[in-house]
């Protein structure tokens, strides 16, 4: 049972938790980049980007299940690709809106300091604006990513063999309530474990990857003695 929940049913591997994490990483990573592009456009051109913001609001207002169902009906798309695109759209609409206010509230003083230090426009974006935004927004982003990991369960509508689908299939094969309960408790435990690991890994990566956080933490440690 555990092997099936982790790796999928025989003949349909990879599936289970591995497939859930694959979907999460692929959709979440792409959505993060798309969300950044959205946030840059909206922060840079607040008035002109209103139609884009309306589209994003409509996407956020639509349940993921409905989005998955709609994308799955695009001709020529396989179920996996449809699921991936739906998750990407859903996540990008949230990530973009999370990043937008943070990017818009980038302090003018930092921008002026970059000018004084004759740092170029692109360099300022890559070295200062983007890390500053990620640093400020990372608690909210972490919450969204945990939510996204759980929301991959919506792919059950397409019959994609991720963890929730496997748990459902396995539970249908059980006869006693005890076995049935064990499957759901194990699947729930796997989601819980994956969420905790995800929080710590992403926190670690973000802190390592964004020098601002490291500097801030060091400054805090020095200040605290």
């Amino acid at each position: 049972m555990m092997v099936n929940l982790l790796f999928g049913l025989p003949g349909e591997r990879p599936g289970g938790l591995i497939l859930t994490i694959t979907f999460f990483l692929t959709a979440g990573g792409s959505a993060c980049m798309a969300g950044f592009v959205y946030a840059i456009i909206c922060a840079g051109l607040p008035r002109q980007s209103i139609p884009l913001q309306v589209c994003s609001a409509l996407l956020r207002g639509t349940p993921l299940l409905l989005l998955v169902f709609l994308v799955a009906h695009i001709p020529g798309l396989s179920a996996s690709n449809a699921g991936l695109i739906a998750l990407l759209l859903y996540s990008a609409s949230h990530v973009g809106e999370i990043l937008r206010p943070f990017l818009a509230s980038y302090p003018e003083s930092l921008s002026q300091q970059a000018g004084v230090m004759s740092i170029g426009y692109v360099q300022e974006w890559i070295g200062l604006r983007v890390p500053w935004t990620l640093w400020r927004a990372h608690p909210v982003l972490l919450t969204h990513w945990v939510s996204l990991l759980k929301d991959t369960g919506a792919l059950i509508v397409l019959g994609i063999a991720e963890l929730t689908t496997i748990a459902k299939v396995l539970s249908e094969l059980q006869r006693t309530p005890g076995q049935w309960a064990i499957i759901f408790v194990t699947a729930g435990g796997l989601y819980l474990g994956a969420s905790f690991v995800l929080i710590y890994v992403l926190q670690f990566i973000l802190e390592r990857a964004i020098p601002v956080i490291r500097c801030e933490n060091q400054a805090l440690m020095i200040r605290e003695g």
Binding site: L58, L66, K150, D151, I156, F184, G188, L192
Partner: protein
């Protein structure tokens, strides 16, 4: 429709009769679609309101338990909050739905969910409980955060007022509400979206209705757009309600923020009054 009507006018003598017949059948079809969608909407609203109310009650209970002075109680409730937040609602709904499907029909349960066959009413009850549980942890966390945001000074003020424990609770709940309303509204919108998971079982709600109609008519885009707009309209209603409550006199974050540094309990008395 016009693609059908225009060539018909050229080809047949009895075209007007055919067109009237077609128009009526089309109208009849549209009416039946509208009726089904309306039933789905009502089903979703009932599921949403019932499970949302239950989630708020459970969330409040979990929050109170999490703040208990007894370590054992506190730990148990914290574990409950973390588990319900960490396990996907989809899994909870499937577990509850499949569990209830294994149970025989319970005739004593009241028929609450419109459109759902009476033989599956108990499944709908199970799904409703699972949906409530899925949001309870998140709401408990929101309530706890709002309570913590009041600050020690405000809590001491409430004690110093000499009110009964229930009176203190009312004062603090009123104060914390301003902070808790916006995130609670956002969570309840997410909760509305989660009701779509009920479509995995024979329960009548909006997503299931849209899915069924789209599969039957192949009008996927139109029906999904209608479904999506209805969900957005329902979310907007909740958002509007939250904004109205937020705008209520004496219930704004600024009022509370202004009142925090004072130690005379004036704001708390005003709230109690």
């Amino acid at each position: 429709m016009f693609a059908f009507v225009v060539p018909l006018l050229d080809q047949r003598e009895d075209a007007p009769i055919c067109i009237v017949h077609f128009a009526f059948s089309h109208l009849e079809f549209s009416m039946s679609v509208a009726t089904e969608i309306c039933t789905g909407v009502v089903g979703t609203i009932v599921l949403w309101v019932m499970s949302g109310a239950m989630a708020m009650a459970l969330g409040l209970l979990m929050c109170v338990g999490s703040l208990s002075p007894y370590a054992g109680v506190r730990l148990a409730f914290r574990a409950g909050v973390n588990i319900t937040r960490g396990v996907p609602t989809s899994l909870l709904v499937i577990a509850a739905g499949m569990g209830m499907l294994r149970l025989p029909y319970i005739p004593t349960l009241p028929t609450l969910f419109p459109g759902t066959p009476s033989a599956f009413q108990h499944v709908a009850w199970g799904v409703m409980l699972a949906l409530a549980l899925g949001s309870a942890g998140h709401l408990a966390e929101i309530f706890c955060a709002a309570y913590a945001a009041l600050g020690r000074a405000r809590l001491e003020q409430a004690t110093a007022l000499g009110l009964s424990r229930f009176g203190q609770l009312l004062v603090l709940a009123h104060e914390a509400a301003a902070i808790a309303i916006p995130p609670t509204g956002a969570r309840l919108v997410h909760h509305l979206h989660n009701t779509a998971f009920a479509a995995l079982f024979p329960i009548t709600e909006l997503f299931g209705t849209v899915q069924g109609l789209a599969n039957a008519t192949f009008r996927v885009f139109q029906l999904t757009a209608i479904g999506s707009l209805i969900y957005i309209a329902l979310s907007s209603c909740l958002w509007l309600l939250a904004r109205l409550i937020e705008a209520a006199p004496g219930l704004s974050v600024t009022t509370i923020a202004e009142g925090v540094p004072t130690n005379d309990g004036e704001s708390a008395i005003r709230s109690a009054g």
